[in-house]
Amino acid sequence: MRAVVFDGVVLGLQFGLLGVGLTLVYGLGGVLNLAQGQLAVLGAIVAALRLNEGSAVVPAVLTGLVVAGTVALVLDLTLMRPVYRRHGEDRVLLGLLLMLGVAFIIDGVLTWRYPIEALTLRIGGDPVDILGVRMRTGSLLASAIALGVGAVLVVFLRYAATGKAVRSVIQDEEGAQLCGVSPATVRAFVFALSGVLAALVAVTRSMTSPVTVNAGIDFTILALIVAVVGGLGSVSGAFLAGILLGVVNTVSAHYIGTYVTTIVLLGAAAVTIVLRPSGLLGAGRE
């Protein structure tokens, strides 16, 4: 039982990291980034290509993160401009449709140029005993990275000046502007950050199982569910939701069977939303 829960937490931390980027971008600009998964895969494929060229792991991964972040930044500076000029439901819908178009394009380019490429990172080393459970090094490293990034994000948002600026825009865009915070700059920064985070998820994921070219849509759907269950705009909510869903996932896979698991997972997500309509740690109704 303990081993199953541990596995669930490992998976959940990945889920959480996946939801964070989406949740921040939505909290800031009201844009549901439907290309989140494709950005993740883009980063992974760039890293894989660098590895093929004989690059070392760390520089290859860094290149992947930078490319995904840059693409996200460019998207924010160009395509998202007309979106931010709109308000309310109009903004949500246009942002969602444009990012859907971007998702198709990235998917199309990747499957056209690199149809069979995949990123797999083999993390060596013997399994480590933690509280009597043998854990693979790959899972541990992936969890450590997810936890570390999550902690840095929470601390950054709470204490750093830029982090406070981000939170101020999430809470009240006009108020933040009056205090001298530029929402446009903050949005561009967070959009780029979400690209980097997305690629990072793909990288940590590849430590336990390969990330293929067509994994984008699954990443996006999972990110959406995690972000909404956690409460859009809340970083710790995303991680909480991720861990909750991760544990539900592995426990039900272990005791009930894999085919029912997805249904249990989706059911858990739906029930959470219905019980807490603004998400686990959501501030208010959207």
Partner: protein, 339 residues
């Protein structure tokens, strides 16, 4: 307010006109089985989009389970008729009722917990993905990934090459007429009121909750019936026939392109994207890239959708030429209809 005052002939003219134009398509494509398949799927998606328009366009509930609702209709009707020996028409009606009940239930949950647009979207998406998993898992009943051959209907006119097309056109015409009738009735008045300002509508005595559930039930039943009809006319269904990626994404893009909430938006959108898909067949490997680029360009140029944009344009030209605007309250589509 509203178009109840507009003469009935004028109000329904766009419906009749659309049906007449669509009905001419077999003249061009009637002798090609694959092309008839494409045209039928275009009309099918127009039907889905009208149903989705009732739910999302009229009352703002983002249902991300169009495919699943159609699948309830399709698989439901196939199983009821082939396994349990029900007559096809009865099976189709029962399956549509099941879809309507499912949609009504989802709507009721969303409304009574006052879920926002995105949250309704995620709950219904979870339902759609779970349904997809059920289809894959319940092999004995659904055939799993390999799909299900639908026997009932193959010996009727649904098994022919051109006849099923006209059945679909009849269905689409009925849906459009229903949509127009809703717009002209007190229900449409309530829909507009709650779309414009939910709280004001509530204060004015509109039972917002009831109208939302009504839209969710009715629209889902329409989607379910279209899915059931497709199952019998196509003779084969598989989970991907009703998957989120194959149905919902396309329906949303079509409706958003045509114009959300407008009568003819679903038809314009379905026509445009059916032509686009067909045209892209020849590009094969760049397909997704072109598709994505077209979506970007279209929505950057026409963020409100084709039908509302054209209406605004026609309205402006009328004003400039000094002719009085439409006598009663301008109906979205009346302005499309010249004269």
């Amino acid at each position: 307010m509203g178009r109840a005052g507009a003469p009935a002939v004028r109000a329904y003219a766009p419906v009749v006109l659309t049906a007449a134009v669509v009905a001419l398509l077999p003249l061009r494509y009637g002798d090609s089985r694959p092309m008839m398949g494409v045209v039928i799927s275009g009309v099918l998606f127009a039907c889905y989009a009208v149903g989705f328009n009732v739910i999302f366009g009229s009352t703002g509930q983002l249902f991300l389970c169009t495919g699943a609702l159609a699948g309830l209709g399709g698989y439901g009707s196939a199983i009821l008729s082939d396994r349990h020996g029900l007559p096809m028409v009865l099976a189709m009606l029962l399956a549509s009722l099941i879809a309507a009940a499912a949609g009504g239930l989802l709507s009721w949950i969303a409304v009574s917990r006052s879920l926002g647009v995105i949250f309704t979207g995620i709950v219904t998406l979870a339902f759609a993905l779970a349904f997809q998993n059920l289809l894959l898992g319940q092999r004995d009943l659904t055939g799993g990934e390999t799909g299900l051959v639908v026997e009932a209907g193959s010996d009727t006119l649904l098994g022919e090459q051109v006849a099923p097309f006209y059945v679909f056109v009849a269905l689409l015409t009925a849906y459009l007429a229903l949509f127009r009738a809703l717009q002209r009735s007190h229900v449409g008045w309530a829909f507009r009121a709650l779309r414009d300002d939910e709280i004001a509508a509530e204060l004015a005595g509109v039972d917002v909750k009831w109208y939302r559930v009504l839209a969710g039930t009715l629209g889902s039943g329409m989607i379910g019936l279209a899915g059931a009809l497709y199952a019998h006319s196509e003779g084969f269904i598989s989970p991907s026939t009703f998957s989120f990626g194959e149905v919902d994404v396309l329906v949303i893009v079509m409706l958003a392109f045509g114009g959300i909430g407008s009568l003819l938006g679903p038809v314009v959108g379905a026509a445009a994207f059916t032509v686009l898909e067909e045209w892209m067949e020849s590009f094969d490997e760049y397909r997704l890239i072109i598709y994505g680029s077209v979506i970007l360009v279209l929505f950057l140029l026409l963020p409100r959708g084709v039908v509302p944009t054209v209406q605004a344009l026609v309205e402006r030209l009328r004003r400039r030429s000094g002719r009085p605007s439409v006598p009663v309250a301008p109906s979205p589509v009346d302005t499309l209809n010249p004269g």
